[in-house]
């Protein structure tokens, strides 16, 4: 029987299946990145965006409510460019059908239209040949064929068919895809989500193991355990989260009744979220007596995953945080770095907070948002220092709810741009606007060159690089290759337009570079560009051997 109307619970299950489908293709999507190094990580970003969104959305029978909650959660969990766009598409869905309890064919069609329109509207420079094109053409080409008798299966099948067609044309639209011989990875990720959703309707259920992915990205690592000691007052209890596998063995109670289980849990705690998915039950509960919860649950099965956190620690951390920032700052600066040396330097140069971007997951809007809050400042100046993080920082700025704070995202595409901006700052200047002006001057006319050891084969416009070879990258494009770091970098430098016009070079030395290599490079630069004022800084970045900023 075909599905005429989608309710909130069904949509949730469909989306989880979509997520599972996305998960199966995560690596494939990551590999589609047009880059010899794992940079954008589209697959991971989309997975984390949707996965964390779903994780933080309470189930609801009402489809509209579910979508509104989901889109809000996704805004916060959005990572990377593709994640931000994905979250905006879902925001569009929610804008259109936020008040509809059920999605019929008309609602579904309108939601899909509003979804892409919203994504275009909020994207600063929409680029065709990406997820945007695909989700637009997907619905535009079929919208007239949808009637009141169309089933969800019909609509999604047509939608998917059109999107797949559209996807094959993406290399014709985006040259960079054609050069690399791939289709757009964000668009393909979007298709996988809908493919999984349709599969669910056809009872093709994929293993629901997304939780395992999610556990890795929400570590409790930022809790400071020293905040809880023998004098602390324990009143907040524990936060428990687990997945219970219901067992068939007759050692266990075979009469699991979800409603009854929930009623029992309510005796021991609150903030209860319990979701049953087949023979698995996911539970979130705040309790003073974890043993009671464990005993009750073990009557029915065993734990697949288990997490127990002392909420007093989290609570204390929060109070301390508020105390720390109780004085309002006029200006606060946030920078993103990716190495210990760089972090230290950015702190010295006046950043109040330096966010270390982890290599694969970047920084989520949510994280930016948290830091904006921590700054407690009239003007918060943000340096994302990475092309892929600018959207997340900007999205967070839009979501930030303090009318007295101005969030200024400086679009620094590289750490070199961020460095020059910060180095130009005059911290004792009282006129904030002049400081901003100076920082903007700093980031202007900066050229950045990366030198990296390729981790996979790549065929580009200018060079074909094999894994293990050295390559220099300008504007995301590998421009040359070689066998050793220094000479490859020199070759890359020579390809920078008007290289002789640059006066200054700041060179961040990566974690994997030896002092000998630095010395070799120093003398090569000295010989080749005697007028260039070059300074090496221990950056300790992981991926790139050298990051050179020229100005």
């Amino acid at each position: 029987m075909k599905t005429k109307r989608i309710d909130g619970n069904l949509l949730e299950k469909m989306l989880k299946n979509g997520l599972a489908n996305l998960k199966t293709h995560e690596q494939e999507l990551n590999d589609l990145n047009v880059f010899p190094v794992p940079d954008g990580d589209t697959g991971t970003n989309m997975l984390l965006t949707l996965g964390n969104g779903l994780k933080n959305t309470p189930s609801s029978y009402e489809c509209g409510k579910f979508l509104v909650d989901l889109s809000n959660a996704m805004l916060l969990s959005a990572r990377g460019n593709s994640g931000v766009i994905l979250s905006q598409i879902f925001t569009g869905f929610a804008m259109e059908v936020g008040r509809c309890p059920l999605l019929g064919p008309g609602e579904l069609r309108n939601a899909l239209i509003r979804g892409y329109r919203n994504a275009y509207a909020v994207t600063i420079q929409p680029v065709e040949g990406t997820i945007l094109t695909v989700c637009r053409e997907g619905i535009e080409h079929i919208k007239t064929m949808i009637t009141r008798n169309s089933s969800a299966e019909d609509i999604l099948s047509m939608y998917l068919g059109e999107m797949r067609k559209s996807l094959t044309f993406t290399p014709d639209i985006l040259e960079v895809l054609k050069d690399a011989g791939v289709v757009d990875s964000g668009a393909l990720g979007y298709i996988y989500i809908f493919e999984g959703m349709l599969k669910y309707l056809y009872n093709d259920m994929l293993p629901d193991d997304y939780v395992e992915v999610l556990e890795t990205i929400t570590p409790a690592a930022n809790a400071d355990l020293s905040l809880f000691n023998e004098y602390s007052i324990f009143e907040d209890g524990y936060c428990m989260e687990f997945i219970l596998q219901l067992m068939k063995n007759n050692k266990y109670n075979q009469h699991f009744n979800l409603k009854r289980y929930i009623e029992d849990l309510k005796l021991y705690g609150n903030s209860l979220v319990v979701v049953q998915n087949g023979q698995r039950v996911k539970v979130h509960v705040h309790t003073q007596k974890p043993a009671k919860v464990i005993n009750l649950s073990q009557e029915f099965g065993e734990f697949l995953t288990f997490k127990l956190e002392n909420m007093q620690v989290q609570h204390n951390e929060r109070t301390e945080r508020i105390e720390k920032n109780i004085t309002r700052n006029e200006v606060a600066i946030i920078s993103v770095s990716n190495g210990d040396g760089m972090t230290k330097l950015f702190k010295q140069l006046g950043s109040n907070f330096v966010i270390e971007s982890s290599q694969n997951a970047g920084v989520a809007s949510e994280e930016f948002l948290r830091y904006y809050d921590r700054c407690n400042a009239d003007t918060v100046i943000v340096f994302p220092n990475d092309n892929n993080l600018i959207p997340a920082a900007e999205q967070a700025a839009k979501l930030f709810q303090d009318p007295n704070s101005r969030i200024l995202v400086m679009p620094t595409k590289t750490v070199a741009e961020g460095y020059f901006a910060l180095a130009m700052d005059l911290r004792d200047e009282k006129d904030v606007e002049r400081r901003i002006e100076l920082m903007k001057n700093g980031m202007e006319n900066v050229a950045t060159l990366y030198e990296v050891t390729a981790v996979k084969d790549y065929s580009g416009e200018l060079v074909t690089v094999s894994a293990g070879e050295e390559t220099a990258i300008i504007n995301k494009t590998p421009v040359c290759k070689g066998q050793d770091k220094c000479s490859t970098l020199m070759e890359g430098l020579a390809q920078i337009e008007d290289i002789d016009d640059y006066e200054i070079a700041v060179i961040f030395k990566g974690e994997n570079v030896t002092d000998e290599e630095q010395e070799t490079l120093e003398s090569m630069i000295e010989e080749q560009y005697p007028l260039l004022e070059a300074t090496f800084i221990q950056g300790d970045q992981k991926k790139y051997n050298f990051v050179v900023g020229l100005s």
């Binding site: 330097l345 010295q348 140069l349 006046g350 460095y419 020059f420 910060l422 180095a423 130009m424 700052d425 005059l426 911290r427 004792d428 200047e429 002049r434 100076l438 001057n441 700093g442 006066e503 200054i504 070079a505 700041v506 004022e533 300074t535 800084i537 100005s551």
Partner: protein, 311 residues
């Protein structure tokens, strides 16, 4: 009219030739080297060559320490003058940077007690290095023009804030770490190619009034700044101080001669006494000009203006 001698501490960086030319006596200071030996610091390269000194300092910034000339050393110099029947004008490095001035004042009281009838005046230059040295030279010129000790002191107090610094310090880490500049904390962190423009402030320290990206633009902005603030360049000797930046200083000298036409430009080294606290990378001109405003707002605005005008 009673004769008076001019005595300055070694932070004035006036080498023997200038000491002779302007009839100035310089009292050495003290420095402790990384191997814990103590040496007297004169404005000359007697212990190290300039290159060796700045290279060693860069490698081991915390290994070198300075101490001012002590009361006994000042007293000895003052009493020697008193015995010869002279009064004394003693000019010291800025009190904001060193305790030298206090020691000199204590010695002055002592000397006046020991030699009744002798007058010892101590003036805080509110400057350091060649900026301070230039003030000492001007004191000597005042003396030459026939001014008495009291008149010379009055002239110094009235004109102190007309002694400018126009230039930059490449590496602020030394002054920042040793707190020898205004808002030192705001200047931690390596600056690559960015030129922080420093000017003397009313507290006798250096304040950064602007930052310029790149030396090329830096020269041009600083030249405009000097042109705007200098008085009667054709009658002036301009000092250029350099700590391990000889090539830059020579270029700067050429530019100043070509565009500002002063009577004379002398490039001066920053010797150990000041060098230990300033570090390598100072390249600045010292000259007399319009009075420096108390809050430096005028001067900041000028740098901002010239920065915007220069492409």
């Amino acid at each position: 009219m009673k004769k008076f001698v001019i005595i300055a501490d070694s932070n004035c960086d006036l080498e023997e030739e200038l000491q002779k030319q302007y009839d100035i006596e310089v009292i050495p200071g003290h420095a402790v080297l990384p191997d814990n030996t103590e040496v007297l610091t004169y404005p000359k390269w007697d212990v190290f060559t300039q290159e060796d000194f700045y290279a060693a300092l860069k490698k081991n910034p915390d290994g070198f320490k300075t101490a001012p000339s002590n009361v006994a050393e000042f007293l000895e110099a003052f009493e020697k003058a008193a015995k010869e029947g002279c009064d004394v004008l003693c000019i010291t490095i800025s009190t904001a940077l060193s305790g030298t001035c206090n020691f000199a004042r204590q010695a002055a009281t002592q000397a006046e007690k020991n030699y009744p009838g002798t007058v010892v005046k101590v003036v805080d230059s509110s400057r350091f290095g060649p900026g301070f040295g230039l003030m000492v030279v001007h004191a000597s010129l005042q003396r030459e023009s026939g001014k008495s000790l009291e008149e010379t002191v009055e002239w110094l107090e009235d004109n102190k804030n007309r002694f400018h610094q126009g230039g930059w310090l490449d590496d602020l880490s030394f002054v920042a770490k040793k707190g020898r500049m205004t808002n030192a904390k705001a200047f931690f962190g390596t600056l690559v190619g960015i030129k922080p423009i420093g000017e003397f402030d009313k507290n006798g320290m250096t304040t950064v009034i602007g930052k310029i990206k790149g030396a090329k633009k830096g020269y041009s902005v600083v030249l405009s700044y000097i042109k705007e603030t200098i008085d009667n360049p054709e009658e002036q000797t301009i000092f250029i101080a350099q700590s391990n930046r000889m090539a830059q200083a020579e270029k700067f000298k050429e530019l100043i001669e070509a565009e500002i036409h002063p009577k004379e430009v002398i490039i001066k080294d920053v010797h150990m006494s000041c060098g230990i606290n300033v570090g390598p990378g100072l390249m600045a001109a010292y000259y007399m000009g319009k009075p420096i405003s108390d809050d430096l707002e005028t001067e900041r605005a000028l740098i901002e203006k010239f920065d915007a005008e220069t492409k």
